[in-house]
Symmetry: C2
Subunit: 353 residues, 2 copies
C-alpha cells in the first residue's frame, strides 16, 4: 500500500528518517562515553523502543508506571527509570510487580514519597531503587538545593527496602553544571552512592558532554523531531520523521484553507514563532501558517503561498510537540520510500497512571 492511499488524517513515521535519527544521537553519546536512556513518552511504541535498545541505549525512561508496564510486557525487560514520585498503595503494588520483572529505578523529591516507598517495599518484600530529583533551574519537580538533595539521599540510604542509586535533574542545559557538580561533591562528602547521575532534555541533547559528570542523558523527541526542532536547526525537514498527513477539506476564502486535522489530531499544543502561533508546519507549503484549530479542523493562512493548496489536496504536517500529538493516536503508520511497511499500535498511549 502506498502512503497516498491511506485515509486522512493519519499519523505516519518515516523509517529511514527514524533510523538515521536513532543512529546519529546514539553515535554522539557513544563518542562522549555517556549512556543514552531514551524517554519513551514521545513515541509510546514498542517497535521504536526495541530499536533504541538495539542501537545501544542503556535502558529506557518511562514517565508513568503504566508506560513501564507496557514496555516490560512488550519484551523490554531492561533498565527502566521512572522519574516520578510514586505515591499510594495501588501504584506501589504495581511498582513492586515491575521490580520483580526487571531493573526499575524511581525518583523522589520528598520525605513523604521516600517513606511511602520504604513501607511499600517492606510490605512487598522487595527493594526499590531510588534517585533524588534536584531542581536545576526550570521550577518543575525536585528538591530545591544540592544540600536538600543530600539530606533526602541520606534518608533513602537509611530506610529499609530502598537502595540509593544517585540523583537526577531535568532539564540539564550546560548552565546547570554547577548544581550537578555541587550535588555530586556533597554526595561524595557524605559517602553516598551515585551510580546514576542523570540529565535530560532534547534541546540540549548534543551539549550533554559539557556536563561530563552526567553518567547518562534522557531524551524523548530525538527520533521524531517536530516544528520546534526544525526551527531551532536540530532536525532538518527530512529528519523530522513524524508527520500527520491531512487533507484540505475546505477553502472558505482565497487566503484560508481548512484541514481535516485539528487539535484532536495534532494536540492542542502551540508554538510561538516570529510569525505568530503555530499548530504545525506544513511541509509542502512552508509559507503557510497553521495558526489555529478546533478539534477536527485545522485553520491555515495561505495568504503568503504563491500557489494555494486546493480542496482534496493532501499535505504533511509536522507537529509542534510530538509527544502529545502521538498521545492522540491509537496507531502510527511506519513508511519507507512512500510505501507502508508496518502499522504500529501506540500501546503506551493514555497511560496516565
Amino acid at each position: 500500500m502506498r502512503v497516498d492511499e491511506l485515509d486522512t488524517p493519519v499519523l505516519t513515521i518515516d523509517l529511514d528518517a527514524l533510523e538515521e535519527n536513532l543512529a546519529r544521537y546514539q553515535r554522539y553519546y557513544d563518542e562522549h562515553q555517556m549512556a543514552l536512556r531514551p524517554h519513551i513518552k514521545t513515541h509510546k511504541t514498542l517497535a521504536i523502543a526495541h530499536r533504541q535498545m538495539a542501537q545501544g541505549a542503556i535502558g529506557l525512561t518511562c514517565q508513568k508506571i503504566g508506560e513501564a508496564e507496557v514496555m516490560v510486557a512488550g519484551g523490554l525487560t531492561v533498565d527502566i527509570l521512572i522519574p516520578f514520585n510514586i505515591i499510594g498503595k495501588t501504584k506501589i503494588d504495581r511498582l513492586a510487580r515491575l521490580t520483580r520483572q526487571t531493573q526499575i529505578t524511581v525518583a523522589a523529591d520528598s520525605e513523604t514519597t521516600v517513606r511511602g516507598l520504604s513501607e511499600g517495599a517492606q510490605a512487598e518484600g522487595v527493594t526499590f531503587g531510588v534517585i533524588v530529583e534536584v531542581e536545576a533551574g526550570m521550577n518543575r519537580t525536585g528538591v530545591q538545593t544540592p544540600a536538600a538533595a543530600v539530606e533526602l539521599a541520606q534518608l533513602i540510604d537509611k530506610l529499609p527496602g530502598l537502595e540509593l542509586r544517585g540523583f537526577m535533574a531535568y532539564p540539564t542545559p550546560p548552565a546547570s553544571r554547577p548544581i550537578i557538580q555541587e550535588t555530586l561533591h556533597l554526595f561524595d562528602k557524605a559517602g553516598l552512592a551515585h551510580p546514576i547521575v542523570s540529565g535530560g532534555g532534547t534541546r540540549w541533547a548534543m551539549e550533554a558532554h559539557e556536563i561530563p559528570e552526567l553518567t547518562e542523558y534522557r531524551i524523548g523527541e530525538y527520533p521524531t523531531g517536530g516544528e520546534g526542532h526544525l526551527r531551532a536547526g536540530r532536525h532538518t525537514v527530512e529528519q523530522c520523521s513524524l508527520r500527520v498527513i491531512a487533507t484540505v477539506i475546505s477553502a472558505p476564502t482565497p487566503d484560508r484553507v481548512i484541514l481535516d486535522a485539528g487539535s484532536k489530531t495534532m494536540s492542542a499544543s502551540t508554538l510561538q514563532t516570529p510569525e505568530g502561533t503555530s499548530m504545525g508546519y506544513i511541509v509542502e507549503y512552508p509559507e503557510a501558517r497553521f495558526y489555529g484549530a478546533s478539534e477536527e479542523h485545522g485553520h491555515v493562512d495561505v495568504s503568503a503561498c504563491a500557489v494555494k493548496p486546493q480542496i482534496g489536496e493532501r499535505v504533511q504536517v509536522l507537529p509542534v510537540h510530538p509527544c502529545p500529538c502521538v498521545n492522540e493516536h491509537d496507531e502510527m503508520v511506519a513508511v519507507r520510500g512512500g510505501l507502508v511497511e508496518a502499522v504500529w499500535p501506540i500501546l503506551a498511549r493514555g497511560k496516565i497512571r
Copy 2:
C-alpha cells in the same frame, strides 16, 4: 467502591449533576419549541448519548464519521448530523454504510464536496442528505455569504443522489440572526427546501430563542460544564459534572505544588483568566492557580491559599475545555453520592477519521 478509593489521576462524572444539566437544557429547548441536537464530541460516550435521547433530543451531532459509527453501533440509530465536509472514496463508502442504517445528514461548503458526495451516492445506490454550511462570523468553515449558500444549495438540489435538507452555521450568537434570516429568505425565494436550520454553541445555548428561525440547536458541553462555563456563570461548581481527581505528589516550594495530572490528563488546552493562564480549576482550592503543566505534571501556584494542599492529598480539577480532556481518556467513572456507579468506556475517543 468509594470515589476516594480510585487511583489517580482519574476522569469522573457526577451523575446527579449530569442528569440535572441534561434536564435543564432540554427544558429550555422544549419551552422554546426548538429541537436540541446534542454534540457527542464532548463526552464521546454511549451512556450519555442514550440519556440525551431519552430526555427528548431530536438526534445527535457527530463531528467525524468514526464518531457516528460508534453511536450507531451502540444502538443510537437516530437522526445524526455530521457537520463536516466528507471528501474521498473511503469516507464516502463509510457514509453510505451509515446511511443504510439510520438517518444521516452531512454539511458541505464547496462544490468539490458536493460533487464528490453526488458521485459517491450514485455509485453506492443511496441518497445523501446534505445541508449547506454558511459562515456566521467566526471564520471557520462555511460559504462566505447567504448568496453563496443558495448557489451551493441549488447545486445540491440539482445533483443526483443528494437531498437538500437546509443549512447550518456555527456558532450562532444572537448577533448572527441577520445572516440566518437572509439565507432563509434567499432559500425561500429560490424555492429550496430547508427542513433543517441548525445553529449551535454552548456559550449562547440559552439565547438560542433569540433566533426563532432556527429549527434546532447543537451544543456539546452543557452536560459537563468546565472552568470556562463556571467563570461565565453558565454552570455552578456543583453543575460542573466532569472532574479529574488528581493527587498532590510534590511540593517543591511553599508556594508551588505538583499534581499527577498534566497535559496528557487535562489536555494541553488553556484558558486565559484575569489571573493569567489556567489549565484547570481546583474545586477545593479556588485561590490556587493551575498555571501550567508538562505531560504528567500539573503545576499549581498555591501562594494565595490560606491552607496549602499537602503531598498525598487529592483534589478535584475542572478542565478548562471538557472535549479534549475527555479525548485523553479511555474511560470515565460515573459517580453518585461519592460512590462509583459505573465505569463508561469512551468509545468514540480518538475517532479522527
